[in-house]
């Protein structure tokens, strides 16, 4: 007995995919992913049209989607993040129907509750057996965690596993089980390893970034949360990684034994685990080879599903137990609302990912951003797009000072007592526009090209066409 199917095309046919249906993909192969493009090319070749693509994230490598949209093969896009290449085309109006943006936690919640129906899920699997047990931990295209693919596998009508490493049955290291898999297709390559994970992730060398990182680490030190059991998430940006590095030094110096690091895992968090800063790592996605290797070999480093990471409808998710998260911003306004969906010109080049999920869960949500980027102020009076509501954001760290959400007066006092450069966010705003000048307000009358759904299911914002 075997679910092996000769080709992607025959698996699509066997799945019963028809005009108007929804297909899904996960993004653990990141900018090295071949699978979304291979599948969409076959769908196009089969003459199937009017497909909605629900991908946990869309990267620049998925630019062929733009032609599929123009040709009528794709008529809908749903994702938690969209890179700049496809994002720019969407912002320019290539797709008639608004893109649906969710968060990394909201996506599996909507799939589980049936709000977001997937007809056929395509799972890129670095290793799989003939019955569909599969994992990201092994194989030439190893990407580590398959966290974002679990909901698709569990709830899609049909599930097709696509692998370039067919393992003997049963693959005991499976993450996703054969119980939900209909077809298995073996292909030459599912991705380009150089794009799947970075060889190494690097901390910033930029002095402004290092300054902000130092402020961030000191903010955590004096937050009242840095004690045994401390938990932490940070992104893979250069300043965030530098903050993790400084935080590690503080934790070792103060002999703080944290509970877990989470994320997007990088070598910096792996290093903190090995140094004893944390008892464990919780991993929904690996960012570099060190993270993949650690996930494969260290039982303290555990893969979790996107729902376990961040689902708002789970009985609990790990974000609910998170102490501190460090996040980025393309814009933050004086109400602490954060935009990571668009650049300052309103062009789509991102999305929440886990931004709004971790902000809602963490005891302290910290944004690191330089006051000015590309000659535009990071702080505005009103963000162009609200990704993460200001009520869930506690601290903004810039190179010119640290702003604390007025709702967190006790935290503000702690930081002042520690002689950190605490400033009012309106003063930071004034400092920024003193450098850049008051930016021209953007026209926002284009038609809606994207709906931004907050993790609770509400429409938190809309993104409009840029003319």
């Amino acid at each position: 007995m075997s679910k092996l199917t000769a080709s992607i095309s025959s698996a699509i046919k066997a799945s019963g995919l028809k005009d108007g249906m929804t297909v899904s993909f996960h993004h653990h192969l990141r900018n090295g992913d071949f699978v979304l493009n291979m599948v969409m090319a076959e769908i196009a070749a089969l003459g199937i049209r009017d497909i909605t693509v629900n991908a946990s994230s869309i990267f620049d490598c998925h630019a062929p989607l733009i032609d599929h949209i123009k040709n009528g093969v794709v008529s809908g896009l749903e994702c938690a993040y969209m890179g700049e290449r496809v994002g720019r085309a969407i912002s320019q109006g290539v797709l008639a129907k608004p893109v649906v943006f969710r968060s990394h936690g909201g996506r599996p919640a909507d799939i589980e509750s049936g709000k977001s129906r997937i007809d056929v899920a395509f799972i890129a699997a670095p290793s799989a057996d003939r019955m569909g047990n599969c994992t990201g931990k092994e194989g030439a295209s190893a990407c580590g965690s398959l966290g974002y693919a679990f909901a698709d596998a569990q709830y899609a009508g049909k599930v097709v596993v696509i692998t370039d490493n067919l393992a003997p049955y049963p693959l005991t290291g499976f993450s996703i089980s054969e119980t939900c898999v209909d077809h298995v297709v073996q292909v030459e390559k599912i991705g380009n390893p150089a794009g799947i994970v970075s060889g190494t992730t690097r901390i910033t060398r930029d002095p402004v970034g290092l300054l902000m990182a130092g402020y961030a680490a000191r903010t955590i030190r004096h937050s009242g949360l840095l004690q045994d059991g401390f938990s932490f998430q940070t992104g893979a940006g250069g300043a965030s990684l530098a903050a993790a590095k400084y935080l590690k030094d503080i934790m070792l110096e103060e002999k703080v034994s944290g509970s877990f690091g989470m994320g997007g895992i990088t070598s910096y968090l792996v290093d903190m685990l090995r140094s004893g800063c944390f008892q464990s790592l919780v991993d929904v996605q690996c960012f570099d080879l060190a993270a993949v290797e650690s996930l494969r070999t260290d039982p303290r480093h555990r893969e979790v599903t996107a729902a376990h990471y961040a689902s708002p409808i789970a009985k609990s998710a790990v974000v609910n137990s998170l102490d501190v998260v460090i996040l980025g911003a393309t814009e933050i306004d004086t109400e602490f609302n954060v935009n990571v969906h668009t650049d300052s010109n309103g062009i789509i080049m991102g999305g929440s990912g886990g931004h709004s999920d971790t902000a809602a869960g963490a005891k302290i949500t910290m944004i690191i951003a330089p006051l000015v980027r590309a000659r535009l102020p990071i702080i505005s009076e009103k963000v162009l797009c609200t990704t993460t509501p200001g009520r869930t954001v506690d601290v903004l760290v810039t190179q010119q000072g640290i702003a604390v959400n007025p709702a967190r007066s006790e935290l503000r006092q702690r930081l002042k007592d520690a002689r950190l450069p605490v400033k009012d966010i309106r003063d930071l705003y004034k400092m920024a526009i003193a450098v850049t000048g008051q930016p021209q307000p953007l026209a926002r009358e284009g038609r809606v090209v994207a709906d931004v759904i907050y993790r609770d299911g509400s429409l938190i914002d809309q993104i409009r066409q840029v003319v």
Copy 2:
């Protein structure tokens, strides 16, 4: 944030349990389980009545259920196996409503499809953290796999985890995740380790058992299936374990590299893994300490859910890839139907467990049983209760000869060619009654005390009250 609740009683109250609802339990603590009795005592103390108990299995230690039935606290029982103490009371008519017997694969299938609704699941967890992530692999009451508890955790309205080993959050070795847990209760002891798993499981020393085991191993050797990739399940009975031991010797001698061993895992299967007979073990339940230790430490030994093991509605389950299973019988009839629900007097003392699931999946289903047991013939013209239909049973091995299902003429020829003592099952039947005499036919006019649901959902048989 924490889901810790002060007591079982307060967790029951918080769960909203009311008269007429269904509670569930899993049986990995086997005859050492304290949790079912503790919970039912609290339910009784709270004055809640008319409860249906859905337990994956009921052991002799659960005899207090009989008083709960008499007192009206429990009005329904559902399980896949029932030991003799509760079984005898049921057979004598203590419960007004028929017991619902399912198989180990049919139970999670009915839970998943909604046919079998669980209001509150109680999960006995040898280790758990404050948010409900839990595992059977660690702790003083370690039982290994929690395979049968996954469906309960995933689909019950409310889920209460009961542990005697509270681990720091997050428990990275979790089997069941916090996403589905409502309450966590810490108690002194969840079970008696001596009853949870045997210190060791032992092969038979009985010469009849060893003779049958030898026939069984030789049957497998000559079945045409014993080649690289071979897969195997056996029970923990003495003759079955002896068959595994003989099979190991054959596999080593013939340098056969099997794919997986499955089951109820014992030290004998662990030994076969370590000897290279199998690449992996697939574990829905541990029977002894060696199995628990292996599951905890050897990545080739993998816990699976009951659905992954055997669900008839999964897109596939491991039983579908199984070559040979060795099973027992209290009775087998001349049509190869097998009874493991009742003894030869019609009194309930067992149940399918995975019997009918593995029989349906395996390429060869072999029953080992002595021709005569307790002065009664094992073979009959019609079993008192059909657990496993004869169409899924291929071979009967007795000390007096081997009967092959007529539908498997090619297998029969292979065994004859190998000079194994192949006999017609009717001739074995005659040999048995020549020893025992023709048994008195049992009266079967009592009211129905149990419905036996086959894995496909059909009513395969009913068990009647014994007067």
